[in-house]
Amino acid sequence: MSVIGTPVRRREDYRFITGQGTYTDDINRLGQLHAYILRSPHANARITAINTSAVASAPGVVAVYTGKDLAAEGIGGLPCGWQIHSKDGSPMVEPPHPPLVTDRVRHVGDQVAVVIAETLAQARDAAELIQVDYAEEPAAIDPVEALKPGASQVWPDAPGNLCYDWHLGDLAAAEAAFAKATRIVRLDLTNNRLVPNAMEPRAAIGEFDRATGEYTLYTTSQNPHVIRLLMGAFVLHIPEAKLRVVAPDVGGGFGSKIYHYAEEAIVTWAAGKLRRPVKWTAERSESFMSDAHGRDHVTHVELALDNQAKFIALKVSTIANMGAYLSTFATCIPTYLYGTLLAGTYTTPAIYVETKAVFTHTVPVDAYRGAGRPEATFLLERIVDLAADELGMDPAELRRRNFIPKEAYPYQTPVALQYDSGDYFTTLDLALKAADYAGFENRRRQAAARGKLRGLGIATYIEACGIAPSAVVGSLGARAGLFECAAVRVHPTGSVTVLTGSHSHGQGHETTFAQLVADGLGVPIESIEIVHGDSGKIPYGMGTYGSRSLAVGGTAIVKAMDKVVAKGRKIAAHLLEASEADVEFKDGKFTVAGTDRSKTLAEVALTAYVPHNFPHDELEPGLDETAFYDPKNFTFPSGAHIAEVEVDPETGRVTIVDFTASDDFGRILNPMIVEGQVHGGLAQGIGQALLEGCIYDKETGQLLTGSYNDYAMPRADDLPSFKLSTNVTLCTHNPLGVKGCGEAGAIGAPAAITNALVDALKPLGIRHLDMPATPERLWRTIQQHRSPLAAE
């Protein structure tokens, strides 16, 4: 029986539940030193002097370096991997991003110096002896204010703090449609800034082998080969052949561990200088001020409808905060992962979006779970709900009326994407039924009788995953290919090692990929090892993000298996003295069609490695195949999420009574793992909607939410149990039919929760709420609407 589609228990769990996982900070190398990074306490200050003279004599200190030391050795800046062009054709402003600053700090937490000592405590103590003279200057913190004349300038080369002013779509068509609209709905909204907060803080160990001249970096990365390329080629100038990057067990990423960070370069470089391994591990407060943040948009949206309640045009204008430097993929998030998603699940024929990316004196902002797609979904599903409210229409019915019809695929949107498959009607119906939509008004009345305001919110979404067709993203400014690589190595006695360029940091690849190979090669799952996360073992890899691992990395494995089977068939034909065309491969056996003559994969493998009787003229020995797969299109998971909430008007406290998610991820290999991915995404989406918000003091640029005491992470008692279902339409362009599931929850939930809250508060005349809808914000909003006198 095939293991595809079954909830195989995870093979990686044993090491984690017994405390035997190996995360980067669990690794200690012989002779290892410890690095402590001195960080800026100011948002914007000129460094007039750094005096490190007291440090060298401090106990245990081996070295102290500043940005000048790195610059003197020609160390480069951290590169940005995606070039965006503005409306006028000019390229974005790309400021330098040195691993340690030289003359100016640009956000609280910016790297100023590194102290390296025998112990971490010694390094930290010694860092207190560094004297830095800062000349503080006003900071630009709020992205809207930063664009205004007179704002403090983050970079001299970026006048007005503008990184780029980008647009997509047909403005003339949109304006023509608006001119004949029977109704126009407008909304201003923000998408709150978030801190990703993977539970494992970032860490890095650099090592240099004097005998071979090889560097090794152990790092908390979602894509070790990408780090090798970026750090080797752009920062430290180490050829790939002399640089190994290992990402061992990684404790969650959610996007924040895609990027190449300064600390990786610092420890690797210092290890070479000092000829000893150097380890750095972030404290959580360092994570808050040095991990790339997410979201942070301010948006104006307008939707035009005709007299049949059909959406005829959408106009979106967004200000996106980049922070002080451009993180690795920062620039593509509020553009090609955002604007291209604004058709959503709807047939809106004319769409125009413009995004101004802004430098501010804050931590860089980059992809966080969903990355652009939650922002697109939030504004779309909010404006659709507002439209339904203004029209007095059932929000489910308004969505149905505008859904892309089932027979319209492949569907070309006006914002560049071509959806290959989907069925939003069935998915929505599944969710509505599971949520007992029909019975809601009754429940609202019952809640009202108890003094509670109850609301129900629907959000549908589409996301572009399986990132990405290299030629397409290249034409849009990506400076990398986004294929994936896999090697399938059948050993002489028939066990199999799979080397995958995808990286697992919670996704369960060691199980799902093994299911895939067990099914494809007819080998018991116990005979399959999945190896990932080591550039010294795996031929190449672009890593894990954008819900791409199965759609792209899994397909690469399929392609490598196809090569193994093709070669195996030739070997089997030779052994069975049959024509290759007559040899079938099924359930791990090569059989001459219509006969009982067969050879197992293990027999064929043994022949491949002990090639005494082997077709040498035609084939090379061995059974070890590598494939690179570049996807033909993005995949388009979609879904409908429904939240039902109760608000206590006296306290502003929200209870999520029910949360229903119905999703279409294409074919599902392991439903248990898929459900887990949805649960986690929903928790992050609900966190964004109700709890989480990264707050800077707008004057001083101090990070006010710099720890778990101040930044509200979702806890078990903040969340409900979730009701999930799936609707399956297959992806048409990858052989597995899979679409990806990792980000869905974080994309649908913020809009579903906010729509439910606005629905609950509608009786008070409230038409929008910004996230996070904390009890305080809700209570104040309720008080203001209850009595105009209470507004102050």
């Binding site: 017994t18 405390g19 996982g21 993977a198 404790g251 778990y708 008692d717 969340l719 979730f722």
Partner: protein
């Protein structure tokens, strides 16, 4: 200032020289090599470092190593009986209650403490007890199911049939 501390860890007597400021979690991870206990924050909020001290769940970042003098510490490494997993560990695996695994040791140590004090917890009780343990991957849904199942097995009930 260096001090010597003697305690029992996972049933074995150990002695170590520590600084006065050394935390119990640092002693466990850095000197005793017990890296199953994790550090996820610096404000005693996340619970990744929960161990048992004299049978009580304690965040090992809230205790100085010297405060563990003469006490008995149990870490995740000694929860299984040799190769036989503890029912709570089995329940975590059976219910897909972990993804990246980083919070998992602390979650399991907390779950054991909960069940010791409340052998038959409700979903609400589990959720409220887990206030001090953060997980970013699972949304807690399956952790809650796992703890309820683990508790049932510890009460002598048969493990639930593997979900579908």
């Amino acid at each position: 200032m260096q001090k010597t501390v003697s305690l029992t860890v996972n049933g074995k007597p150990v002695s170590a020289t520590v600084e006065g400021r050394t935390l119990l979690v640092q002693l466990l991870r850095e000197q005793l090599g017990l890296t199953g206990t994790h550090i996820g924050c610096d404000t005693s909020q996340c619970g990744a470092c929960v161990v048992h001290v004299d049978g009580e769940a304690v965040k090992s970042c809230t205790l100085l190593a010297v405060q563990a003098e003469g006490r008995s510490v149990l870490t995740i490494e000694a929860v299984a009986d040799g190769d036989t997993l503890h029912p709570m560990q089995e329940a975590f695996r059976n219910n897909h209650a972990l993804q990246c695994g980083f919070c998992t040791p602390g979650m399991i140590m907390s779950a054991l403490d909960l069940v010791k004090n409340n052998p038959n917890p409700s979903e609400r009780e589990v959720r409220e007890y887990l206030e001090g343990n953060l997980c970013r991957c699972t949304g807690y849904h399956n952790i809650v199911l796992a703890i309820i199942e683990g508790a049932a097995v510890m009460r002598g009930e048969k493990p639930a049939v593997a979900a579908e």
